[in-house]
């Protein structure tokens, strides 16, 4: 499903007002990963104010964010900066403009969500296996594939690995929740999700 891309799409998703930002820079000053960002949080806000949504969505920075909520907490204008980065992540995937350099981070989030959709709860070993396999198929990096391989036996020895995780009883219900939320890309009020399902 495609949507018109404008500032409203961001504000609707994030439930916050981008134009309230007056560029004090406090979000960037407190950000723990700011040194890794190609475009700083306050600059992302400024790009949005100037209508340059595409540039903001393609920034690697939005995937460096660790969602620690420091920016949102400290904003003197109560702009939910972390919420805006959430919205930018969601939109960048929907419009297929996410930074290619951030493929691994994106792959992890998608694999995680798919794991929940199928199991209801996180099945850790399954997550590691799928993430490692798909990551390797993407970039053929052998060091990445075997990184942390030694942790496995150490975790097993400490009783921290469960070969069979406890799954929820009603897994079909979890699938239905996902389908309804995905139906309109998690947008809007009203009853789009349920209707979409009935029409399908």
């Amino acid at each position: 499903m495609t949507h018109n891309l404008d500032l409203n799409s961001v504000e609707e998703l994030a439930h916050t007002r981008v134009h309230d930002c007056y560029q004090c820079g406090k979000c960037s000053a407190g950000c723990p990963v700011v040194e890794r960002m190609d475009i700083l949080p306050n600059q992302l806000l400024r790009l949005l104010q100037l209508g340059r949504l595409e540039k903001a969505m393609a920034a690697g920075a939005i995937w460096e964010c660790v969602s620690c909520m420091t920016c949102t907490t400290r904003c003197p204008k109560s702009v939910d900066c972390a919420g805006i980065l959430d919205a930018l992540r969601q939109l960048s995937i929907e419009h297929d403009v996410a930074s290619p350099a951030q493929r691994r981070t994106i792959l992890f989030q998608q694999t995680f969500l798919d794991n929940i959709r199928r199991n209801g709860r996180l099945a850790e070993l399954d997550l590691v296996r799928k993430f490692k396999t798909q990551g390797f198929l993407d970039d053929l990096s052998v060091p990445q594939l075997f990184k942390d391989a030694l942790l496995g036996p150490q975790m097993l020895r400490r009783g921290k690995l469960h070969l069979r995780s406890r799954r929820v009883k009603d897994r079909k219900l979890v699938g239905r929740i996902f389908a309804r939320c995905m139906a309109d890309n998690g947008r809007g009020n009203g009853h789009g999700g349920i209707q979409g399902e009935l029409e399908a």
Binding site: T72, T73, I194
Partner: protein
Amino acid sequence: MEIGYYPGCALHGSSNDYEMSVRACLSTLGVHLRELDDWICCGATAAHSLNRKLAVALPARNLGLAERDGMDELLAPCPMCSAQLMKARCVLAEDQAFRSEISEIVELKVRGTTRVCNLIQIFQRVGYESIQKIAVQRLEGFRPACYYGCLLTRPPGVVQFDDCEHPSSMETLLKGLGAGPVEWNYKTECCGAGMTMSNESTVLELGHRILSNAAAHGANCMVVACPMCHVNLDMKQSAINQRYSAAHDMVVYYLSDLVGLALGISPDALGIPRHFVVRK
């Protein structure tokens, strides 16, 4: 005291040492945990990064289950879970139309009547003085750096817990039990949380800064109340040492470990030998 219990995926997975510790500690304090029947994952970072509605629906299903089962309060010892549950509850309280839509999506009426709390709040409910009275051992020699990380106190409007820039609830509790918590600068700086696998270099860098600052201020151990903080500071400590040619040797306890030790519970029963860095 009986309270609803939402363990979350981490505590039923590789952070089972945290669950052992929480259960042992609370049972000694007379808190009975009633696990939420057929709970599902809160969605964590992945949900709020990829689909806003899902980020509300997944926790909302759990809130609905808790209401259906008559739970007034739900303990989520993982701050990621508790923050997602609290956030969903706030969002639903503000918007009635969205609340009915979400109720249809999760096939359960969600009103948002069940309160959600973190582990420290349960200790506060029991009462720090009552805990001191039951304690059998002083925590002499422990100089912990109490680490709150990101989501225990943030965003303050949602979690409404302690001071978001300078929290002190763990220090007060541990001081009362004989420990000597240190003052330091990284109490509320993030450790990288769920990025452990996808973005390891970030997690190692943030962890290195946190461990270095704790040691520089005289801490001989750290205390956390989050499974992800524990993974990033304990399990990843040798990787941090390798990456930065550092020699961190910092034992990282869960808050319930230290309270449990003061209550006379054995380290084994608290799951302490399952940590990666252990006190020699």
